[in-house]
C-alpha cells in the first residue's frame, strides 16, 4: 500500500490502562471491529475503523475508554475543511461516489432557531395543561369543504360521507424507515410504540414483516419505486398507504440497499432473492407526470376499496408548493414534505448536503399555496426532516403543518448516536444492521418503552406550549403564524414564512 492510499483516522481511541479491567465488553460491543484484545487481554484500538458510535464508551464499566477526534492536525483552513480533503483522497483512491447516512450535518442556517413562540399575558389567559382540557387529537386525511346536515327525528344527522381518516392521539408519526435499512427489532419497537401511543409508524419501502401484521392499525405502508413487498395483502394490512416519491436526504435519487443487508428475513419481506441488491429506481416507472401520480393514487384506492387514506411523500425542492398543489389535486389524502435535513440509511454525500430546501420554508409555502387555491382541506400536511424537539414541532405546526414525522429523533431514543454509518450494516446499537449478533442487542420490549416515553414527553411539551399560547385545541395552533415571531431573518424569508419580526 502506497502512502498515497492511506487516510488518517478520523477518531482516536484512548484506553486508560489504569482503569481498564480487561473485561472485553468494549471489544464485543464494537460493531466495526475497531477494538481487539491481545493475548494478555489488553485492549488494542484500531483507530482507522472507529466511527465514534460510542457504544464502547457506554458499555465500559470503568469509563476507561474515550473516543476523541484524531489529535494530529493539518494547517488550519476555514475553507478547505479536513472533511473535504479527506473525501478527495478517498475518491482519488476509489473513483467512487461519496456515501453517507443520516441527515445532513452541515451548518446550513437553522430557521427553527430564529423562530419564537408567543405566550398570553393579561389580555387573554394562558391555560394550565395539567388541569384544564388540552386537545391534541389529530385526523390524517382529506376533510370536507363544508358540512351538510339534516334534521330528522328531533336530531341533526350528518349528510356528508367523509373520506377515510385516521385518528392519532398526538400529531406525531414515526418516519418511514425500511426493514432492511433498519433491523427487524427496530421495526418491531416502532410498531409497538406506535400502537401503545395511539400514533402511526411507517414501514418505509422494504415491505412488512409478518411479525408486524398485528400492528396493522398503526402502520402506514409505503409503495416506492422498487415496489418491494407490495402485494394486495400488504396494502390491506395497513391504516394508510403512502406513495414515496422523494426523500429529503436524497431528492430525485433512488435507493440501493446493498445485497449484504438482504438476509433471509429481509429477502422474504421484500420478496426478492437473498443477497441481491435491492434497487429502487429513481422515479416510479409508472409515474412520469402528474396525471400518472393521480393514476397510481386511484389504483391504490381501487385496490383497497377506497377504505384508507393514500398519501404521497415528496422532498422539499424548489418548486415544492406547486408540486404539492398538483399532488393534492391528484387526490392524495395527505402529503409528506421532507425537508433537506431529513435522514437516510444511505445517500450520496453531495446529494444529502446540497439538494433541497429547509422544511420551515417548504411548509409555509405549501400551506400558503393550498390555501390560496382553496384546497387546503383536501390534504393533511405532514412535515418531516430534522424535527429535534417539541418546540420545533410546535413551530412547524404553527407554520401550517398538521403532523410531524420523527425519524432521527426516534432512532436516538433507540440508542443511535448519529455516527452516520448506517450504510455499512455494522450498527453497534442493533438499529441499522442485519447482523444477528448486533440485532439481538436491541430488545423491542425495552426500546418500545423508550419510544413511548419520547412521544409522551413531546406530547406533554406540546400541551405546555399550547397552554402558554392560551389555546386548548391543536386546530387553533396549526397554521396560526400570528403566534410566531422571528429574530434576524431576512425580509424575504419572513415573507415566505408569513411571520412578523420579533417586536412587531
Amino acid at each position: 500500500m502506497s502512502v498515497l492510499d492511506k487516510l488518517l483516522p478520523e477518531f482516536f481511541i484512548k484506553v486508560d490502562r489504569d482503569l481498564c479491567i480487561k473485561c472485553g465488553q468494549c471489544v464485543n460491543n464494537c460493531g466495526f471491529s475497531a477494538l481487539l484484545q491481545d493475548k494478555d487481554k489488553n485492549v488494542k484500538p484500531i483507530h482507522e475503523k472507529c466511527v465514534a458510535c460510542q457504544r464502547c464508551m457506554f458499555v465500559c464499566p470503568t469509563k476507561a475508554i474515550q473516543i476523541t477526534k484524531f489529535p494530529g492536525t493539518q494547517k488550519h483552513n476555514d475553507y478547505w475543511d479536513p472533511e473535504y480533503i479527506n473525501n478527495i483522497k478517498k475518491q482519488a483512491n476509489t473513483g467512487g461516489i461519496l456515501l453517507t447516512a443520516a441527515g445532513t450535518d452541515k451548518l446550513h442556517p437553522i430557521i427553527f432557531d430564529r423562530l419564537f413562540l408567543d405566550a398570553c399575558q393579561v389580555t387573554n389567559p394562558s391555560i394550565d395543561p395539567l388541569r384544564e382540557p388540552m386537545e391534541i387529537i389529530s385526523y390524517l386525511g382529506e376533510k370536507p369543504i363544508d358540512i351538510a346536515i339534516e334534521f330528522k327525528d328531533n336530531s341533526y344527522i350528518l349528510k356528508n360521507k367523509l373520506k377515510p381518516n385516521i385518528k392519532l392521539s398526538s400529531p406525531i408519526i414515526f418516519a418511514a424507515m425500511s426493514y432492511g435499512a433498519i433491523s427487524l427489532n427496530a421495526h418491531k419497537s416502532l410498531a409497538r410504540a406506535a400502537k401503545e401511543s395511539g400514533i402511526l409508524m411507517n414501514t418505509g419501502e422494504g415491505g412488512l414483516h409478518k411479525d408486524l401484521y398485528e400492528y396493522a392499525d398503526n402502520i402506514i405502508v409505503q409503495v416506492a419505486s422498487g415496489r418491494f413487498g407490495v402485494d394486495p395483502d400488504y396494502l390491506k394490512r395497513a391504516a394508510a398507504i403512502e406513495i414515496k416519491v422523494g426523500q429529503g436526504a436524497k431528492p430525485g435519487i433512488g435507493g440501493h440497499l446493498p445485497g449484504y443487508k438482504v438476509d433471509d428475513e429481509v429477502s422474504s419481506t421484500r420478496m426478492i432473492p437473498k443477497g441481491t441488491d435491492a434497487l429502487s429506481p429513481a422515479p416510479h416507472h409508472d409515474i412520469y407526470s402528474i396525471e400518472d401520480l393521480a393514476q397510481l393514487i386511484a389504483s391504490l384506492k381501487e385496490a383497497t376499496d377506497y377504505s384508507k387514506p393514500v398519501g404521497v411523500k415528496i422532498a422539499a425542492v424548489h418548486n415544492v408548493a406547486a408540486i404539492a398543489s398538483g399532488v393534492a389535486r391528484a387526490d392524495a389524502d395527505y402529503i409528506v414534505i421532507d425537508g433537506f435535513r431529513g435522514g437516510t440509511g444511505a445517500a450520496p454525500t453531495m446529494i444529502r448536503d446540497h439538494i433541497g430546501i429547509p422544511i420551515e420554508l417548504a411548509i409555509a409555502a405549501v400551506d400558503d399555496r393550498l390555501r390560496k387555491e382553496k384546497i387546503r382541506n383536501k390534504v393533511s400536511i405532514v412535515a418531516a426532516g430534522g424535527i429535534r424537539h417539541a418546540a420545533d414541532m410546535a413551530k412547524i405546526l404553527a407554520l401550517g403543518a398538521d403532523f410531524v414525522t420523527i425519524g432521527t429523533a426516534s432512532l436516538i431514543a433507540m440508542g443511535c448516536t448519529l455516527c452516520q454509518k448506517c450504510y455499512t450494516g455494522n450498527c453497534s446499537w442493533g438499529i441499522a444492521t442485519q447482523r444477528p449478533d448486533l440485532v439481538d442487542r436491541l430488545n423491542p420490549d425495552e426500546v418500545s418503552k423508550k419510544l413511548v416515553n419520547l412521544i409522551r414527553g413531546w406530547s406533554l411539551e406540546l400541551k405546555e406550549i399550547m397552554g402558554a399560547l392560551g389555546i386548548n385545541a391543536i386546530e387553533s395552533l396549526i397554521g396560526n403564524r400570528e403566534r410566531l415571531r422571528a429574530l434576524e431573518l431576512s425580509k424575504e424569508t419572513l415573507d415566505v414564512l408569513g411571520v412578523k419580526p420579533a417586536g412587531r
Binding site: V122, N124, I127, A148, Y156, R371, E475, S476
Partner: protein, 363 residues
C-alpha cells in the same frame, strides 16, 4: 388611519336588548346599560347595532360607510353608482359633543344590486353585497363599511359607548334589537373602524375577550373568500357565522358547536350519529374554533344570541322581563334598565342562548 398592519387585542363590555314582538324602543335603554359598565371600557371604542330602524326601506341593503377623506368617498360613490340602484343616500346625522374628536365622514346608502350585474357575475344579491364590502374594505384606502344589512345599521367610533350613542343621537332611533359594545383595546389606535360591532349583511357581533386562535381563523376564512382587514379578532367571528349559517346552511346551534366545539372526550361518549356529526364538524371546521376567552352577542334581523367560549373565560348574563330579553357582561347593566326581572342567569360554557323575534315581525 390604520395604525399598523397587525391585529389589536382588546377587552370589553357587551350588552343587548331584544323585544320579541318587534316593538321598537329608543336607544336610551341600551346607552343606559352601557353607562353602568363604563369602567370595562377605556374610551377608545364604542358602538351599537340596531335592528328595525329603517322600516320605510325594509328591502334595501343599507350601507353604513365611514370615510377618512373626500376622495375615498368619491371612489366608493362611483363604485356604488356602478353596481347598485341607489334609493337614497345621506350623511348619517350626528351632533356636536366635546367627547368625540375628529370623526370621519359618516354616510349611509340605501341600495339594491343592479339585476344585470347579478346576472353578469352569476351571483345572489347577498354574495354580491359581501363582495362589494370586501372590495371597499380592502381596495379603497380610508373607507370602511360598518354595516350592510337590511333595516339595520351599525353606529360606532372612538369614544366611550354612551358618548358615541349621544353623538349618533340613538335616542331618536327605534329598534327591536339593540346590541352594544364598549372597548378596551390594549393597543391604542384611535381607529373608528376598529370599534365593535362588526358586521356583514345583517350579522353583527359584539365581543368581549381576545381570540388566541385569530391567526388561523383568519387564514381559514380567507380560503373561503373572506378578507379580514379590520385587524381585530371580532371581524372573523362575524364572517364565521356568515360562512357557516348563511353560506353552508348550518343551523345556528351547530355553528356554535364549531366556534365552541365539543371536547373530544365528550364526543367519544355520544350516541353514534351525534358522534359522527361532531367529529366531522371538528375535522372540517377545526380551524374556526374560537380558542381563548370570549363572550359574544350575535344578532341578525331575527334573533339575538349569546355565547361563551367552551371553558368559560368571560362573563355573560341573561335576563328576561316579559317580551324583553337582555344580555350583558354584568348583571348590574341589566338591572339598571329593568330592576324587576322574571329570570336571570349566567350562560353556560359553549352553549348558545338564542332568543328569537316572532316570525311575523320580520320577513
Amino acid at each position: 388611519m390604520i395604525p399598523a398592519l397587525e391585529h389589536i387585542p382588546s377587552g370589553c363590555a357587551a350588552a343587548g336588548i331584544m323585544n320579541k314582538s318587534g316593538i321598537r324602543i329608543s336607544g336610551d335603554a341600551i346607552m343606559d346599560m352601557m353607562s353602568v359598565m363604563h369602567s370595562r371600557s377605556n374610551g377608545l371604542g364604542g358602538g351599537f347595532a340596531a335592528y328595525g330602524i329603517y322600516p320605510e326601506t325594509p328591502d334595501n341593503y343599507c350601507l353604513h360607510i365611514m370615510f377618512d377623506t373626500e376622495s375615498a368617498k368619491r371612489e366608493v360613490d362611483s363604485l356604488i353608482e356602478e353596481n347598485f340602484i341607489v334609493e337614497r343616500q345621506e350623511k348619517i346625522p350626528t351632533k356636536i359633543i366635546n367627547e368625540i374628536k375628529d370623526p370621519p365622514l359618516l354616510w349611509r346608502y340605501f341600495v339594491l344590486p343592479k339585476p344585470e350585474k347579478l346576472v353578469a357575475k352569476n351571483m345572489h344579491a347577498d354574495d354580491f353585497v359581501v363582495k362589494l364590502v370586501m372590495l371597499v374594505n380592502t381596495r379603497i384606502p380610508g373607507s370602511y363599511v360598518n354595516s350592510s344589512g337590511k333595516n339595520m345599521g351599525v353606529f360606532k367610533g372612538v369614544g366611550y359607548p354612551e358618548d358615541i350613542g349621544r353623538f349618533f343621537m340613538l335616542e331618536k332611533y327605534g329598534a327591536y334589537i339593540w346590541t352594544a359594545h364598549g372597548r378596551f383595546p390594549t393597543n391604542t389606535p384611535g381607529w373608528w373602524a376598529g370599534a365593535h360591532p362588526f358586521s356583514i349583511l345583517d350579522w353583527t357581533v359584539v365581543h368581549n375577550g381576545e381570540i388566541s386562535s385569530y391567526g388561523i381563523n383568519k387564514r381559514f376564512l380567507e380560503t373561503y373568500g373572506y378578507e379580514c382587514v379590520l385587524l381585530t379578532d371580532t371581524e372573523v367571528i362575524a364572517y364565521t357565522f356568515d360562512l357557516l349559517v348563511r353560506k353552508h346552511g348550518l343551523p345556528l346551534d351547530i355553528a356554535c358547536n364549531v366556534v365552541a366545539s365539543k371536547f373530544w372526550k365528550d364526543i367519544e361518549l355520544m350516541p353514534e350519529e351525534e358522534k359522527k356529526l361532531h367529529t366531522a364538524l371538528r375535522m372540517t371546521y377545526g380551524n374556526l374554533l374560537l380558542n381563548g376567552p370570549f363572550a359574544i352577542i350575535v344578532a341578525t334581523n331575527n334573533y339575538m344570541m349569546g355565547l361563551n367560549d367552551r371553558i368559560k373565560l368571560r362573563p355573560l348574563v341573561y335576563g328576561k322581563k316579559g317580551e324583553f330579553s337582555y344580555l350583558a357582561s354584568e348583571e348590574s347593566s341589566i338591572r339598571k334598565v329593568e330592576s324587576n326581572l322574571d329570570d336571570v342567569y349566567s350562560l353556560v360554557a359553549g352553549k348558545p342562548l338564542k332568543v328569537e323575534v316572532n316570525k311575523d315581525v320580520c320577513a
